[in-house]
Amino acid sequence: MKRFLPFFLCLLLLSGCAALSGEAEPAQVQFFSMDTVMSIRVYDGGGEDAIQAARQEVERLDKLLSRTTTDSEISALNSHAGDGTLVSMEPEVIQLLAFAQSISQLLPGDFDITIAPVMDAWGFTTEEQHVPSDASLSAAMALVDSSLLTVDEEASAARLEQAGMEVDLGAVAKGFAASRAEAVLREHDVTSALVDLGGNITAIGGKLDGSPWQVAVKDPQNTSEALCVLSLSDQTASTSGGYERYFEQNGVIYHHIIDPKTGYPAQSGLLSVTVVSSNQMLADALSTALFVAGEEDALAFWRSRDDFELVLCTEDNRVIVTEGLEAGYRPAGEERGYTYEIARR
């Protein structure tokens, strides 16, 4: 028996090596949905089954919420605009519409899900992007008013009061999908996962070793670099920035985040806004709304609440991080000229 001891020893050592290299291989999937690239990485629990279930849930919601899919609930709502029909819809869609309206009321003029006609005028939803004529822009702007969207939660129905109005859930759909995907993953006993819905990162739990996920915020002026790195667990980080989609005409750059007050790309002095919250929908909606609102209003709004944190990147190369993120955050763009400051309540 003792003769075999060295042999067993070697086996033991070798098995240790195998465990070392196989430690952090997640089950993962990457797919296209909601006009963006999504990836789901699961490190424990139901693995492959969990991932496929979450993916199907996201794809189901895409069909439900897309404005460009003709048989979606949103298309049904839009097609009945102005004809007085109360369109009955899935309770979850009604809930999402009501949530979007509540954000419009919280931040009047900064967020409006009925902005779709203006987006179309700019061509951001189609392939031909261009500066709209004054006439077509003012015609489109006349159709933007989320107070003319009636949401009846009891009847699970909604109605657009004016012909030509259209709802686009682009600013909240990914957040909603993230919350649903997280719920599905948790049903499959997943406690450690990363859901990336087109740069909208939902961290489920922490890493297997218990430490938080490290999530980089993209440098809006150099998208292959990181602006800073945040430590997240059980939180969603959602970022909006003009750099995500834009076009150039006559030497001027026009980005895709339209200010509902002007109908033009928001000129708020911000390059990007990252919202971190345990509420996925809030993170998604606020990143768009606070990008339009600008630095001062965004920080004022942050001080009025306690359910989210911010990273703001300004046009004059300042990065403002709110104090709730201070622990576990590290700057990454000093050599590119950024200065970092912590905002306090």
Binding site: K2, R3, L5, L9, L13, G16, A19, L20, E23
Partner: protein, 169 residues
């Protein structure tokens, strides 16, 4: 004195000696010089070598187990018990095996014992922690065991020759 009583006394004295050595060793930790977790001179191994050479494998095993249990009682640390017991048993097994080979001296035997002890400690740490992370400490520990093993080897040669337990007291 009857045989079994003599054996019992002998084992008890050696156990006490081994315990004293390992406590003494703990007072002057080598890790101050070399910040390597698990690094120690392994003086208690001297007793194991001596017991293997002058007594029997059974008694060496008995002394080892008793020393580890008492040491854990003194130190009050169950983790340490797992480490020292795994390391000690592996060292004991390895050295008993090598003592049967004709060509070696106690230098080689002690070095192998020290290496086996370190390996056992790391295996125990891997089992307790449930990760293979401690494995990275093994190569430097093995290299250190060349030195500590040679030192205890030299001392054990002196010990074995100066204290010839012939079986009669």
């Amino acid at each position: 004195m009857s045989v079994s009583l003599r054996r019992l006394t002998r084992s008890a004295v050696l156990t006490a000696l081994a315990l004293a050595l390992s406590v003494a060793e703990g007072l002057v930790p080598l890790t101050i010089l070399f910040p390597l977790p698990g690094l120690r001179l392994g003086l208690a191994n001297l007793v194991t070598v001596y017991a293997l050479c002058r007594l029997s494998g059974r008694e060496a095993l008995l002394i080892l187990v008793a020393r580890c249990l008492l040491g854990a009682l003194l130190g009050g640390n169950l983790m340490a018990l797992a480490f020292s017991l795994t390391g000690g048993l592996l060292a004991l097994g390895g050295m008993a095996l090598l003592l049967r080979l004709p060509g070696l001296s106690l230098f080689g035997v002690s070095i192998a014992g020290a290496a086996a002890h370190n390996t056992g400690q790391i295996l125990a740490a891997m089992a307790v922690l449930g990760t293979s992370a401690p494995l990275v400490y093994l190569p430097p520990l093995l290299l250190c065991s060349l030195v500590t093993g040679a030192v205890t080897g030299g001392v054990s040669i002196l010990l074995v020759h100066r204290v010839p337990f012939s079986g009669r007291i």
